[in-house]
Symmetry: C2
Subunit: 177 residues, 2 copies
Amino acid sequence: MAKRPQGLVLVHTGEGKGKSTSAFGLALRAVGQGLRVFLIQFIKGTWKTGEAAAARRLAPELEIRVGLGDGFTWITQNPDQDRLTSREIWKIAREAVFSKKYNMVIMDEINVAMSLGHLDPEEVIAALRERDPALHVVLTGRGAPQALIDYADLVSEVRSIKHPYDRGIKAQMGIEF
Amino acid sequence: MAKRPQGLVLVHTGEGKGKSTSAFGLALRAVGQGLRVFLIQFIKGTWKTGEAAAARRLAPELEIRVGLGDGFTWITQNPDQDRLTSREIWKIAREAVFSKKYNMVIMDEINVAMSLGHLDPEEVIAALRERDPALHVVLTGRGAPQALIDYADLVSEVRSIKHPYDRGIKAQMGIEF
């Protein structure tokens, strides 16, 4: 067993709630250990006001990057545009992986970009293979491709057993946003 | 629809990793919204050093209570003692519910105490029914009793698809502790 910490590849997938929330929890735990964490969002609107505000309390160890900024609209009616946007965000995520600045890189909702065909899973996996072996990488979102599941060290699936929307309850501040 | 926020009862259960991590993520989001959160642990050792350290960065909005303190050893060889301990922690959790000091109360690993028979689910559900209707309550841990699932607004199950221990990889700082 190497003396250096062994970086893990974690995948949070499934249809249920809590995948991004869990990634935020992982960031919280890692920051508490003094690790430096980079968290980038592939789909705008998954993070809500509360998360961004609280995440700032974890600076400077935690750096967050909300995709391509406020002007970014995901899932347009234009697949070419979506593919271009996905690739631009991936470029930033990939740079973070190879920057040697972080102990953990969280790519929130990247699985969705892959499952929609906007990003090639093999390209993502190639970057994971080439990364510093001590770096932890977390990839969230429904529809994680099988090749990524095969490559990952830890894969969790969140299943929704019951959801308040089923009962006509509106989104609540602090829970859903 | 009432103008006051409607408190939700959220249950995180299942065998997979990430239930407590997700609860920490929920606390992070809620604090970011300016909500006051009380988080109490029913099983010692589920929270690791990193989480407790980072959680302090979210004070004063987030208050954490690690069960009955450092001297608390869970799952002794003495079921009577475990039952007593569970009930003492429940007493603190229940007081938090009715204290009117919080917008969200997170009972981490309480489902385990119920599934082991140390705590009566009906007593827990009775407290949930009697709470301020605006209060959010989050109950985590494997083995959530059916009566709680029936009562809850949102239930997520975390399934483990793959775990690094299967491959002989040791626990890594910042991920597992």
